[in-house]
């Protein structure tokens, strides 16, 4: 595996990692075939809307403070920019900082699809610099620019002398990939190639890749025990912070899917160790993760002291909670960086994983190894049924109807409402820190209990709402419309 930082583009997950979006089977088979390199993808003869790598990648970059993201695309591709801007400003306010980042579109029209629009694009970049004086400008490609062959790299080259801040072309054409997580890698490539500088010295920082830093204070507090200071990425990051990522003692990611490209790139090019363990969700995850961090930064003794102290505080409460969670039957649908971590926590707490769905699957990460969560599960005797499905709602609702779980756990906006309409209590695990560490386990367990103990809304709504699917569909197997493996 080799990460190339000489180009603005980076391969998709499908091409780079052999990632898939269609599979139905068991955990043991998936892991075994990931190791053998024999895992193929199943196309579908019917599919529902996925999400594109553009919205994923550009919204990552829009989290950075005081930059400009310019989406060179028709108007609709930037439609959720106001929502993203609102969210990022709320995140900044919550932390007591400000952000002047702008996320704008170029509103390409029909004429532009015929004649191209690199000329107007240059003017827009100039005008955006004049208006906002951003610390960096990222220019996103789109389906339209990809098909008509707009050369955004040349636009960046032509403007480089004129605009005195880092510029980067973001190759996130929507049709590149069905795996929106490819957008994480595109954003990382832009940060690595346009912002990160070679190290001058080692700092006391650790790079901490996450989504919305809701556990920021807790993590700063934990790491202060080990004399290091986390730099959270990318929401509320500054360009100055990003320039120094190469000087950190380690890179950590709350999610393996989110962190693989940046973590491996920083390790390969600048020798910053990337922490590759199971994630800090649940007790085993949290302790395994902390111990590895302790080893890498040379603070194992302090980590052990911390673990001992926290165990005494929280383990009795967690044991008590386990009794109440025992036997709860769960179906879950999440990105793979969470599905195969949360399943471990569920089993650790005595719950039963009836079916696990992952929005895609990376048979290996950028270091060439199978995700650590997979081997961990298998070693501990897990072997649940699972599917790889890019949000295919009809498959999920079929599974929920067939297995009638006590709860559906999901990690994607707009997905739990359909389960609830079908009468299944659902918990949207949107906060990436919901199950983080000992305290997270307690918070999560109590949320599960709250969700399943009062089912009035699910019951009342399901009795009165109609879902769009036919009875015929509910009688089929969930993978009935998957094709042969390719």
């Amino acid at each position: 595996m080799s990460i190339n930082l000489n180009e603005s583009s980076v391969g998709t997950r499908e091409n780079r990692l052999g990632s898939i979006t269609g599979y139905s089977g068991r955990l043991s088979d998936l892991v075994e075939r990931s190791h053998c390199g024999t895992l193929g993808n199943h196309e579908r003869c019917f599919s529902q809307s996925s999400t594109c790598n553009s919205s994923c990648g550009l919204s990552q970059l829009a989290g950075i403070r005081d930059v400009a993201v310019i989406n060179h695309a028709p108007s609709g591709c930037t439609a959720v920019a106001p929502g993203i801007a609102t969210l990022d400003r709320q995140m900044a306010t919550k932390r007591g900082v400000t952000t002047d980042t702008v996320f704008i579109g170029t509103d390409m029209d029909e004429q532009d699809t015929v004649f191209g629009a690199t000329g107007p694009l240059k003017d827009i970049v100039r005008e955006i610099y004049r208006r906002y004086h951003p610390r960096a400008i990222f220019i996103g490609a789109s389906c339209v620019t990809g098909i008509i062959g707009e050369d955004i790299d040349s636009v960046v080259d032509d403007l480089r002398d004129e605009i005195p801040v880092p510029l980067a072309a973001i190759h996130c054409e929507g049709f590149r990939s069905r795996i929106w997580a490819s957008g994480f890698d595109v954003a990382d490539q832009a940060v690595m190639t346009s912002l990160v500088k070679p190290p001058k010295q080692r700092s006391n920082k650790v790079n901490f890749k996450n989504f919305f830093e809701s556990a920021r204070d807790e993590i700063i507090d934990i790491f202060s025990n080990f004399d290091v200071e986390p730099t959270f990425l990318y929401v509320n990051s500054t360009v100055d912070e990003l320039e120094h990522l190469s000087e950190a003692q380690a890179t950590i990611s709350i999610c393996g899917t989110l962190g693989t490209y940046l973590g491996n790139a920083l390790e390969e090019h600048y020798g910053v160790p990337y922490i590759r363990t199971i994630n800090p969700l649940g007790v085993t995850g949290f302790e395994t993760w902390l111990r590895e961090i302790g080893k890498v930064i040379g603070k194992s003794d302090k980590v052990e002291a911390y673990i001992a102290q926290e165990r005494a505080k929280y383990l009795p409460q967690i044991e008590k909670l386990k009794g109440e969670l025992e036997g709860i039957r769960v179906v879950l649908g999440m990105g793979p960086g969470y599905t195969f971590e949360v399943t471990r926590v569920l089993e650790e707490l005595g719950m039963e994983v009836v079916w696990a769905a992952a929005w895609h699957f990376d048979p290996n990460y950028d270091n060439g190894a199978v995700p650590p969560s997979m081997d961990h599960l298998l070693k501990n005797g897990s072997d649940f049924k699972l599917s790889i499905t890019d949000q295919q709602n009809y498959e999920i609702l079929n599974i929920l109807d067939h297995y009638q779980p006590d709860i559906y756990l999901s990690r994607h906006p707009g997905t739990t409402v359909w389960a609830i309409k079908q009468g299944v209590p659902a918990l949207c695990v949107t906060d990436e820190y919901m199950i983080f560490g000992y305290r997270g386990v307690l918070r999560f367990g109590n949320s599960v209990l709250d969700t399943i103990r009062n089912r009035s809304f699910e019951k009342n709504l399901a009795a009165r709402s109609e879902l769009p699917y036919t009875d015929w569909w509910y009688q089929q197997d969930a993978d009935a419309l998957m094709k042969e493996e390719l």
Binding site: F46, S49, P74, E110, I128, G174
Partner: protein, 428 residues
């Protein structure tokens, strides 16, 4: 040509078509597009317009061919065919619309040809060429109506004198679309009329099909659906009454009710009785209004219909002072702009506001900075920061609204005008 759109107030043509189609009950769109279009559209319209999920299908439950690179190189009509085939099996629906996105639009995949194949088998499958680059949300709203008129509406033997089509409020895109349609329906029904709303009350494709039986289209928008207006008249003999936006408050709503009554030759006594009762209802509440009525000089930002209606209400009925009215619709016809400006400047009482047309958030924010004496900013979530900057009170009423949930709230007509006043006097 490419222009700067900072904080766009809408999605694209495809998003507009999708919002319109999915507001019809038991009607399913099938996207022939890249994998991200539908999520962006659903989050962009329903999600950013009062924070809701689409009703029956939307976002993850919408069929989509999720076109990737090889589909663009080789074309993907086979994939659209099998996706449609699958949709017919798994959805219990009355109609399907195949929608082209930018990708299929540029490579020239003919979605109409696939719809035709299915129609020949007797299936209710239609197609709309709707690549996003054709325009913004409103363009999609108009494209959907053009398709309804071309493909769905059937000629009627006769017109029903008490049946009207209520048009011009765009579903999902307007944060208060449902409540506003409900309030106008309530008022029209009090006049003894039956109302095709298409998007509420579980109406659907059949109501579109028979909309040619109506005696009148009531179009409550200053500029939308001009082509539909002409088609209804020329092909189906349905005339239109165009009103420059949903009326807000007693004065404009009463004028609207009288206009409908005169156009349809309704019983004068009935019309005047309804007006008297509705005005009494409104003013009985306004009589209990908080003190200090005229201490607000306001700025308003939003779509033309809302800006016109709310400005006229607050100036003519409620003695507030409009300082600036910013219209954010992407309009191109000069006569539309002139008509809107006329509505905003011919006020009975207050001094007319400065009228500005722009879609660009930077220009909007710059304009608002010029009015530092404004104490009330009525706009969208995009404008919240401007309100904070000038320490003005902020009330969200126009797209995008991402900081409150909206179900059936109405801010127009008789009753909705009271709700609007309630909102202005909340969080003081």
């Amino acid at each position: 040509m490419s222009t700067i759109t900072d904080s766009p107030r809408g999605t694209c043509a495809l998003g507009g078509v999708n919002a319109t189609i999915t507001a019809l009950e038991r009607v399913i769109p099938i996207y022939h597009s890249g994998p991200g279009c539908c999520m962006q559209n659903s989050a962009g319209e329903a999600g950013q317009s009062g924070g809701r999920s689409p009703y029956q299908v939307g976002s993850v439950s919408t069929p989509c061919t999720n076109m990737i690179e090889r589909d663009i190189v080789f074309g993907a009509l086979d994939r659209l065919r099998e996706t449609t085939e699958g949709a017919l099996e798994i959805y219990d629906a009355d109609a399907f619309f195949l929608l082209s996105g930018c990708t299929s639009g540029i490579i020239g995949d003919d979605v109409g040809s696939i719809a035709k194949e299915f129609q020949e088998r007797g299936e209710a499958v239609y197609a709309i060429e709707s690549p996003g680059f054709l325009g913004e949300s409103y363009r999609g709203f108009e494209l959907a109506f053009e398709a309804f008129l071309d493909q769905i509406v059937k000629p009627a033997d006769e017109h029903e004198p008490d049946l009207v089509n209520l048009l011009g409020i765009m579903p999902y895109h307007n944060p208060f679309w449902q409540g506003n349609i409900e309030e106008l329906t309530r008022i029209l029904e009090r006049l003894g009329l039956r109302v095709n709303t298409f998007f509420t009350r579980h109406q659907g494709i059949e109501d579109i099909r028979t909309s040619s039986r109506a005696a009148l289209n009531v179009i409550v928008s200053p500029w939308l659906l001009r082509s539909a207006e002409e088609q209804y008249q020329e092909r189906f003999g349905v005339p239109s009454l165009r009103w420059p936006g949903p009326p807000v408050g007693a004065t404009d709503t009463t004028a609207f009710v009288r206009a409908v009554g005169e156009t349809l030759h309704l019983d004068h006594t009935l019309v005047e009785r309804v007006i008297a009762e509705e005005e009494d209802y409104v003013y009985s509440y306004l009589a209990t209004t908080p003190e200090g009525l005229s201490w607000k000089r306001f700025a308003i930002v939003g779509d033309a219909a809302t800006v016109v209606g709310v400005t006229r209400f607050l100036a003519n009925d409620y003695s507030l002072t409009p300082a600036v009215a910013i219209v954010t619709d992407p309009m191109f016809r000069d006569d539309d702009k002139a008509a809107i400006a006329r509505q905003l400047t011919t006020l009975e009482y207050a001094q007319p506001p400065k009228v500005v047309f722009t879609t660009d958030q930077w220009e909007i924010s710059q304009e608002l900075r010029l009015h530092d004496d404004v104490t009330l900013l009525i706009g969208s979530t995009n404008d919240r920061e401007s309100a904070q900057e000038s320490d003005a009170q902020y009330v969200p009423i126009s797209y995008p609204v991402t900081d409150r949930l909206v179900f059936n709230r109405s801010i127009i007509g008789y009753r909705g005008s009271l709700t609007l006043i309630e909102d202005i006097f909340t969080d003081l």
